[in-house]
């Protein structure tokens, strides 16, 4: 834990400095006059051992009181970083929403106002961006939408060795905590571990969390039952109702496009939205309860050694086309996910699954690679989880949408009557459904897919649509808030926006300098401005790695750098 | 001739001026003439003399920028100032027109019959069916074979002569009192010209229509006209019967014009007659053996055989005239001789060097000794180069001479083609057509070529200008002694300068011999027809020839 001690010292300094920063009230002129102290190199060298680290801390405290050197400037000066630091920040103009340009324009301005940085922004079209980011970008924008609503999905994929960010971050202490929380079944203990983990990561800052999204739906005033927006981050049709009429058809608009009706061939929000409403799952989320609950299963449990997860399937289940729905369908579903392993499918989520066996038609056993994996239940309720009809779907390749619709291979709350992909879809309630989503409270759903959110906005306001779901712009939401014709409903959001640092290639001569630069950047960012000015409140500041609303969330980053 | 027929069309003090970006241009100045019933009045003049403008002014076919003054009357109807429907009724019905270029004067997307019917239906109250029947009759009348079929033909399916016949059929469709024929045969070959002129003659006799014949060709005038009006620079300088004008011209311009007209069978002017160096029989400048030149046809059609199995020889210091009508392959042959066109088969030896398969470098070297003079004076000089640059370009290309030497050579050549030395700094557009052609000649001669190919060098020029160019040309040939392949369609010009003559038709060589042999004693029927068809600028001679021809037919 020597590492954490060293950084704790440095960060205590930073925290103090942060206070100074806010006390100074963003005084631009004073910032620009700041120069690097001549002794900077010595200070930086001194910081490499814990003992001198403390001394350095004392020095900075003194300097902080001087009021000419604020926190960020001080951190840089102490690390011997010559200012202004030239940064090139990459962002993508549309993949994470149209306001990215504005968001990064604001970040550039915030950074440059400190006088410590000169920022060049580079905006790159998405495909190139996603190909180049690992090899060639040192500071860049990303966003994340979770596969399942669990803190693990915000930590292990980001901060493990060889994470998908490819930012060369590799800290054994962090890795140890990640592994530990994953097998900790006690919820309180795990939450504590997760909090610790976040605080530790915040010291290293391999990424800088910025903002957290909210789920926003706009409903017409005649909608008496809005969709339930909870921390499962799923949009479910069943409980929506308008005109107090359980037979009224509700029209929903969205911009989330669909890739495929086949769960093995899609890994995106739009497809998952449809799939959660038309396929059953072994475990699913009941509205209002973001904890996986048995749906097809009557009950599920880990074996003694934790290596096998056994579920009892309910008896007498049928697909809407009359086919039998039993444990064989479940085995078929997961086997074909692994067999097909479609390049665009979610099969990579099944990394912990070794094999599936069916001792009898009402029992299914999942054999896992690691014992007591607390994320397994989440994975069963994730995009890889929708169960499909083994008599309709192909075991070895993707099944075309038209075949699925024609065979009526559904057993979720709804079946699909008309399917014009990414144009319009018509859903009718499935009378046989008895899952956790409850009996449909409407006569069906007509889903309209919009390419331009502005058209969706027009249609929700004019009453052409009853519900507008993902994604309206901040401008639209702000203006609809004040409209009498509609109501805006919010829910906790799983989406986060953050900056990735490549800890090897970013500016700075030594790892310490690089860290100092990351810290200085963190100190210079004003999340409230981003949230209020850029996003008009549709995103809220994200002060740590796990978003607010999930067990284990804290405010580690803001505590360290911005208070 | 008995008492004069009544005056039909009369122009009095007719003036036309055009508004331009600059000051108005006066194209026709106080012109007066008259046409009597059944009479052919030829209005003669060179380009820009106002002959076309004055005739079009009478039927209101000038652009709105034209200001017309004076009077023009047909019978008692005043034409000047008529508009819209009033003038429309006159056009075609009382005064019809025939144009110079039959291929552009016919609407390409309508059949011949359709266009004749249109003329009929515009003036007569008859049904379309009747009009069609009449169109067939008219086509028959103007001598088109199979009129029932041809009436459904589109213009591009007809030959040039046939097109002009269709135009004539259209002109006579409504029995007009006067036909204005504006250079009706200029675009046609000489044999076709003879036929069209015969047709017009016939029609005049059969229908009694008066004809205003606008032309620059004194031969045509001699052939056709009862009376002649000579125009020069917008003024009508002289008017009289054909005999008066040809035998006793009064105005200096008329005299000059008649003096410039080359005459088939006429005496060579003294300046052109002296032969400096006699042709050296042994040495060949150009030898052509069984030459074929084929061009690929359009998709789906056979290749066009431009030159078929032609053999001829050109001796040093000799002028060989290559004569033929359009499409005879004479130009293609000339282009082969300087390597502008690759032959398909046969042998082609230029100045002792076989051209087929010659390497580019060798060809460039050979080209120092070759030259070519083009037909069109307007485009034969690069408009962006001064006269001096144009002339000296071959020297620069072959890197001969210093700057001073080149300047000296340019001055020398300008002098040789009788242009003032200060013309060296002018640009082509500042020169007249004749002057430009002389500059072209100077450029061709700058490297002292041994073989010169001249492709119709004077046919785009007015007669009075042509004489000068020819004179310079012959003098220089005598002085410098280059061998010359002179390509032309004009037998009168040939008679002026050729040593030997080759006659071509449809890519084949018809006859080859000395000037005297070919022109005075042709052996082939085609050559005879050709000579026969050339109108001689002498009314008496021409009348006699016409009578002979008619008697024969």
């Amino acid at each position: 834990m020597a590492f954490s001690k060293k950084f704790a010292a440095a960060l205590a300094v930073a925290a103090t400095a942060g206070l100074v920063l806010s006390a100074c009230g963003n005084s631009k002129h004073e910032d620009t006059e700041t120069t690097t102290p001549p002794a900077a190199d010595e200070t930086a060298a001194a910081e490499t051992t814990p003992a001198t680290g403390d001394e350095a801390g004392d020095e900075t405290e003194a300097a902080g009181g001087d009021e000419t050197l604020t926190g960020a400037a001080k951190v840089l000066a102490d690390a011997g970083v010559a200012t202004p630091v030239a940064l090139t920040i990459q962002y993508n103009p549309d993949h994470y929403g149209d306001a990215s340009a504005e968001e990064y324009g604001a970040i550039k301005e915030q950074l440059e106002e400190t006088g410590l940085f000169t920022v060049t922004l580079n905006s790159t079209e998405w495909v190139t961006y996603s190909q180049e980011r690992i090899a060639n970008y040192s500071i860049y924008q990303l966003g994340w939408f979770p596969d399942y609503p669990d803190a693990d999905n915000y930590l292990s994929v980001f901060f493990s060795k060889d994470n998908f960010l490819g930012n060369k971050f590799d800290e054994p202490a962090v890795q140890a905590l990640i592994d530990e929380q994953r097998v900790t079944t006690d919820e309180a203990a795990r939450a504590e571990l997760i909090s610790q983990l976040q605080s530790l990561v915040a010291e290293y800052l391999p990424t800088l969390p910025l903002l957290q999204g909210r789920q926003v739906a706009v409903i017409g005033t005649n909608v008496n039952e809005p969709p339930v927006l909870d921390a499962s981050f799923q949009f479910r049709f069943a409980n929506i109702q308008k005109d107090n009429d359980p037979t009224a058809v509700v029209k929903v608009g969205t911009t989330d496009m669909v890739t495929s009706l086949d769960p093995a061939g899609s890994y995106d929000n739009g497809s998952y939205l449809v799939q959660t409403n038309v396929y059953p799952m072994v475990l699913s989320f009941a509205p209002g309860n973001p904890v996986p609950t048995p749906e097809l299963a009557e009950s599920c449990e880990f074996s003694e050694d934790g290596a096998t997860y056994t579920c009892k399937i309910k008896d007498g289940l049928k697909w809407a086309n009359g086919n039998t729905l039993d444990a064989n369908d479940v085995k078929f579903t997961f086997d074909r996910q692994l067999t097909i392993a479609d390049p665009e499918g979610p099969s990579s989520l099944l990394g912990s699954l070794d094999s599936v066996t069916v001792p009898d038609p009402l029992t299914v056993e999942f054999h896992l690679n690691a014992p007591n994996d607390v994320t397994w239940e989440q994975i069963l309720a994730s995009p890889v989880g929708p169960v499909v009809d083994d008599e309709v779907f192909s075991a070895t390749e993707l099944t075309p949408d038209a075949d699925i619709v024609a065979a009526n291979a559904f057993a979720g709350a709804y079946t699909i009557k008309t399917w014009k992909i990414n144009e319009v879809a018509e859903f009718t309630p499935n009378p046989d459904y008895a899952g956790v989503q409850g009996t449909p409270q409407n006569g069906g759903i007509i889903m309209t897919y919009y390419k331009e959110s502005s058209n969706m906005r027009l249609n929700i306001e004019s009453g052409e649509d009853d519900v507008a779901w993902r994604s309206l712009t901040a401008t639209d939401i702000a203006s609809l808030e004040s409209s009498d014709a509609v109501e805006v409903v919010y829910g906790p959001g799983g989406e986060i926006r953050y900056i990735v640092f490549n800890v090897e290639t970013m500016p700075g001569d030594t790892p310490e300098q690089k860290l100092a630069i990351r810290q200085a950047i963190a100190m210079s960012i004003d999340r409230d401005e981003l949230s209020e000015v850029v996003y008009a409140g549709t995103y809220s500041p994200l002060c740590s790695y796990v978003p607010e609303g999930l067990p284990g969330a804290n405010t580690a980053v803001c505590d360290l750098y911005n208070q | 001739m008995t008492s004069p027929a009544p005056v039909l069309l009369e122009a009095t003090n007719l003036s036309v001026s055009f508004q331009t970006d600059g000051p108005p241009v006066r194209a026709v100045k106080r012109v007066s003439f008259e046409v009597r019933k059944g009479e052919i009045l030829a209005i003669v003049g060179e380009s820009g003399s106002g002959k076309t403008v004055s005739s079009r002014a009478m039927v209101g076919l000038l652009p709105r920028t034209a200001r017309i003054e004076g009077e023009a009357r047909i019978d008692q109807t005043e034409l000047i100032g008529l508009h819209g429907e009033a003038i429309r009724r006159v056009r075609g019905d009382r005064i019809a027109m025939i144009f110079q270029e039959p291929s552009t004067a016919l609407d390409p997307v309508r059949t011949a019959g359709w266009q004749i019917c249109e003329a009929l239906l515009s003036h007569q109250n008859i049904s379309r069916k009747e009009a069609m029947a009449r169109a067939v009759e008219l086509l028959d009348l103007v001598g088109i074979p199979d009129p029932e079929i041809r009436v459904h033909s589109y213009p591009h399916q007809l030959s040039g002569g046939q097109k002009q016949r269709v135009m004539i059929a259209m002109a006579i469709s409504c029995d007009p009192e006067v036909i204005i024929a504006d250079e009706p045969t200029t675009a046609l070959d000489v044999t076709v010209q003879a036929q069209i002129l015969d047709l017009l003659h016939d029609l005049r006799e059969r229908l009694g229509t008066a004809i205003i014949l606008i032309t620059h060709n004194m031969g045509v005038v001699a052939d056709m006209a009862d009376r002649v009006a000579v125009m020069f620079r917008g003024e009508l300088v002289e008017q009289g019967t054909a005999e008066q004008i040809f035998n006793d011209p009064q105005h200096p311009y008329t005299k000059h014009l008649l003096g410039s007209v080359p005459r088939l069978g006429g005496a060579r002017p003294a300046t052109m007659d002296a032969v400096a160096a006699p042709p050296v029989e042994a040495e060949l400048a150009l030898s052509v053996r069984h030459l074929d030149v084929f061009f690929p046809g359009r998709i789906g059609s056979p290749p066009v055989k431009a030159v078929k199995d032609v053999s001829l020889e050109l001796h040093r210091h000799e002028i060989l005239a290559l004569v033929g009508e359009s499409g005879s392959g004479k130009t293609t042959l000339g282009r082969c001789a300087v390597g502008l066109q690759l032959p398909t088969g046969g042998e082609l030896t230029v100045l002792g060097q076989e051209l087929r398969g010659i390497r580019p470098a060798a060809l460039r070297a050979l080209r120092r000794r070759l030259a070519f003079v083009f037909q069109d004076p307007a485009s034969s000089l690069n408009p962006r180069m001064s006269v001096a640059d144009c002339i000296s370009e071959p020297m620069r290309v072959h890197r001969t001479g210093t700057k001073a030497e080149r300047e000296a050579r340019v001055a020398e050549l300008l002098d040789a083609v009788e242009l003032p030395s200060d013309y060296a700094n002018r640009y082509p557009h500042e020169l007249s057509g004749g002057q430009r052609q002389r500059v072209s000649l100077a450029r061709a001669l700058v490297m002292d070529p041994e073989l010169l190919v001249a492709d119709e060098p004077t046919s785009a020029l007015d007669v009075s200008v042509q004489a000068k160019v020819l004179e310079v040309f012959v003098r220089l040939q005598h002085q410098m002694g280059f061998a010359c392949l002179f390509i032309t369609h004009d037998l009168a010009v040939v008679d002026l300068l050729a040593d030997r003559i080759a006659v071509m038709r449809s890519g084949e060589l018809v006859e080859l011999g000395s000037r005297e042999e070919v022109l005075r004693n042709p052996q082939q029927q085609y050559t005879k027809d050709l000579i026969e068809a050339v109108p001689i600028p002498d009314p008496v001679v021409q009348k006699a020839r016409r009578d002979v021809r008619r008697g024969k037919a």
Partner: protein, 349 residues
């Protein structure tokens, strides 16, 4: 003569045959060009999952999809499939390319037809008027108009139209999609699925549906049609002015044909020949206009689909659609040849 005509119409057939045969290399070049360009600019897997998978996982998936094989192997494999009529499946939304081409292609064709109607209605009379009043006020006004509609990018024109007629302006016309959802679903329920909305609506025979389709078409058609009209006006004006100066027009006047007839029967018909030819060449330009119009009005056409697939680096879809567009262009220019042959006898015989 009759025999000659027959043989020359055989020549025309041969000519048209050769024109058709020339389509093959054109399409081949386009497909090749697109194939290799697309490989340079990324693959659909990174496009979709580049933001959420590890580099190794991405690489594994690219490998699995066969994108790491030698490019020529992939190229000839693709060509082989195409020759067998298999254009493949889009990875962006798992649609059969043939289905995309038929559905979205129908939408584009419908849009282009509507816009051509507007373009003809506006362009031809104005072009004739401008030529008739050459260099007078009417001419200059029309020319300014033509320049203006040409200068306004389709998306801006569309935007202005939306502002004026859309929900925040007069609110009288829909500003997106081909048809309202209710109509679309109702027509689908009736089992009409020709991909041409107006055809389906007419078959249903219900005025509600027909008027719905027509209303949706108005704004996109006007936006695109006006741009085309700008081109038409200029083309027709210039060509009419040129034919009005030809000898055969003077000759027609000289034989006493009335001015109105001279213009309509001689000048206009001849002026159409180059206009038709140029239109054939500009068809690609119109498709570009269609892409922007489709984007502006959310019209689910081929161009819009293509730009979306391009963004997703969906090779298969892009190649398939480009092939379809190349064929479409070829067919149109072939049709234009036929039209030309109808208008111009010189081509016919």
């Amino acid at each position: 003569m009759a025999t000659k005509q027959r043989s020359s119409s055989a020549a025309l057939l041969r000519y048209l045959g050769v024109r058709l045969a020339l389509v093959v290399p054109t399409v081949l070049i386009l497909v090749t060009l697109v194939f290799f360009l697309m490989r340079v600019i990324g693959d659909p897997i990174s496009a979709k999952l580049g933001g959420q998978l590890t580099p190794d996982e991405l690489e594994r998936r690219r490998e699995a999809a066969g994108y790491n094989r030698p490019i020529f192997v992939q190229y000839f494999e693709y060509l082989g499939n195409v020759v067998q009529g298999d254009f493949g499946t889009a990875s962006k939304d798992n649609r059969k390319i043939l289905d995309v081409v038929l559905t979205n292609g129908a939408a584009t064709v419908e849009l282009v037809c509507w816009s051509l109607i507007i373009a003809f209605l506006v362009g031809i009379p104005l072009g004739r008027l401008a030529a008739r009043y050459h260099d007078r006020l009417a001419d200059v006004t029309i020319r300014f108009f033509a320049v203006l509609v040409y200068a306004a990018p389709v998306f801006f024109l569309g935007l202005v139209l939306k502002l004026i007629f859309g929900a925040h302006g007069l609110g009288i016309l829909p500003t997106s999609m081909r048809v309202s959802r209710t109509t679309e679903l109702a027509l689908a329920d009736l089992g009409y699925d020709s991909h041409f909305m107006i055809v389906d609506a007419l078959r249903s025979g219900q005025w509600v549906y027909i008027s719905d389709v027509l209303k949706h078409a108005i704004l996109p058609a006007v936006a695109l049609g006006l741009m085309e009209a700008g081109i038409f006006i200029r083309l027709i004006r210039i060509n009419l002015l040129e034919t009005l100066r030809t000898d055969y027009v003077v000759a027609a006047r000289a034989r006493g044909v009335a001015e109105r007839r001279v213009v309509s029967k001689h000048a206009f018909r001849n002026a159409l020949i180059p206009v038709v030819t140029v239109m054939g060449m500009e068809i690609a330009l119109m498709l570009c206009g269609a892409i922007l119009t489709e984007t502006t009005f959310e019209w689910p056409g081929l161009g819009y689909a293509l730009s979306q697939y391009l963004l997703a680096r969906d090779f298969v879809a892009v190649q398939g659609i480009v092939t379809a567009i190349a064929l479409l262009v070829a067919v149109i220019s072939f049709l234009i040849d036929v039209i030309n042959a109808l208008v111009d006898p010189r081509v016919r015989y």
